[in-house]
Amino acid sequence: MMVETPETRSPSLRSKMKIDDLNVYYGAFHAIKRANLDVPDRRVMALIGPSGCGKSTFIRALNRMHDLTPGARVTGTVTLDGNDIYAQGVDPVTVRHRIGMVFQRPNPFPKSIFENVVYGPKIHGEHNGKRLQEICEKSLHAAALWDEVKDRLNRSALDLSGGQQQRLCIARVLAVEPEVILMDEPASALDPIATSKIEDLIGELKKDYTVVIVTHSMQQAARISDFTTFFLLGDLIEVGTTSDIFTRPTDKRTEDYITGRYG
């Protein structure tokens, strides 16, 4: 169905992840249909499309979160540095360790700020108090939250504002030192100021990480991403550099969406 053109494969950069023939089903519903995509290393890849187009379903397939959804089934291959994360014998837990995820709504644990950040390192076996302190500070710095919370690391994370909570969740992901960070509309529940802080942060993050972000806002995709992928009704329609997608899309449906003809 999808024609392989230079545009459907992203440009000549080292690929961090390669998605081939990916299908996702919820029971009998075919939610993602034969998607192919290369995710370039240390760049920001935005996934856009009208709501219900499958972009969230797609991103959750990239670190095997669908394993937790009863009735969901995934076929095809998703490779990370050339290794298929769906291959037999691959542990989803290790996959999620290397491919972290930030969710739509901030979801801090009902614990202190410190405990939230070091949750992952502790689980992965780091119990040295001094090391944990360092990881915590480093991660909070990287998430641009350190200055706001350094005096109250032992306070409950639930006392933070929504935007701070979301940056805490990003810090929590950074603390496990993943290679890829998946973000599922990370700013959709936030106000404009908090949103712009998150966007600045994403710009910083791509120096060290590969970022894939689902966004419902085309402006946001244009502001922060290097590459953009357009989804419609479960089909991956088009992928290209963000400037190409927004200025000269090759597919009529992409153009219709960019120019505001879908909701």
Partner: protein
Amino acid sequence: MVGVRANKAHRDERVALGFLMSSSAIFVLAIVLILAFLAYNGTLLFWQDHVSPLTFLFGTDWDGFGGQFGAAPFIIGSLVATGFAILVGGPLGVAIGLFFSELAPKRVAETFKPAIEVLVGIPSIVYGWLGLTLLVPFIARTFHAEGDGLLAAGIVLSIMILPTVISLSEDALRVVPNSLREGSAALGATRWETMSRVLVPAAASGLAVAVILGVARAIGETLAVQLVLGNAAVVPKSLLAPAAALTSEIVMDMGDAPEHSAFRHALFSMALLLLLIAMGLITLIHLALRRRTT
């Protein structure tokens, strides 16, 4: 390094799953053992002591040491007391369930609910003591009778099953979709009409479960009943005459019946009968719930 950690985490995961599954299996094992032991001990009377099951079920003469094992007086006592409790406590419990799900303002619900929690927590022996010292003298004065008997037991049981019936019927009513309430109100129905003609029928299977669990609680209740029944091993002639129930008779006689005697075996048979009734009620509940899903 990560590999080693992951291996350890994996081993923990497997060990944990082992513990989780064996703990769950204990539930299955427990009920199987209970059924097996009571099935064996509860039938000794029939195949070891050669008492006919029909005599046991329908005979009215009971004399433990004299070899008379007609349990009909107790079966009748249990059924009548439970029936009374359901006739009074069932509708009352459903009504109060309706109150909590449809009428009660939040503040009122918050003050009343803890009261119900406390009523659940009061030990049955204390209910029995209240029945004996508060209710029995009251009945005696009102009806010029002894006071203890099936009426007293029925009233005590009605009160004891209320918390169960209330909370389960409230749950059943709360899951009725709001669209039904709105739909009924939009047709000009009063609140009571909506409750009685739409909500109660819509929640019927859940309400049935609430009442059935009330039956289960009532029929198995022992000490509260034993204290107020009067404990006469005869078929009761009226609600005001002393009587006995399966549970109360077991507790009365068990201490006296020697091990390996037909007397003790007869008491085990009564326990088996109670267990079978309980299992029957569980099956009924599953039938009621299946009707809801189909």
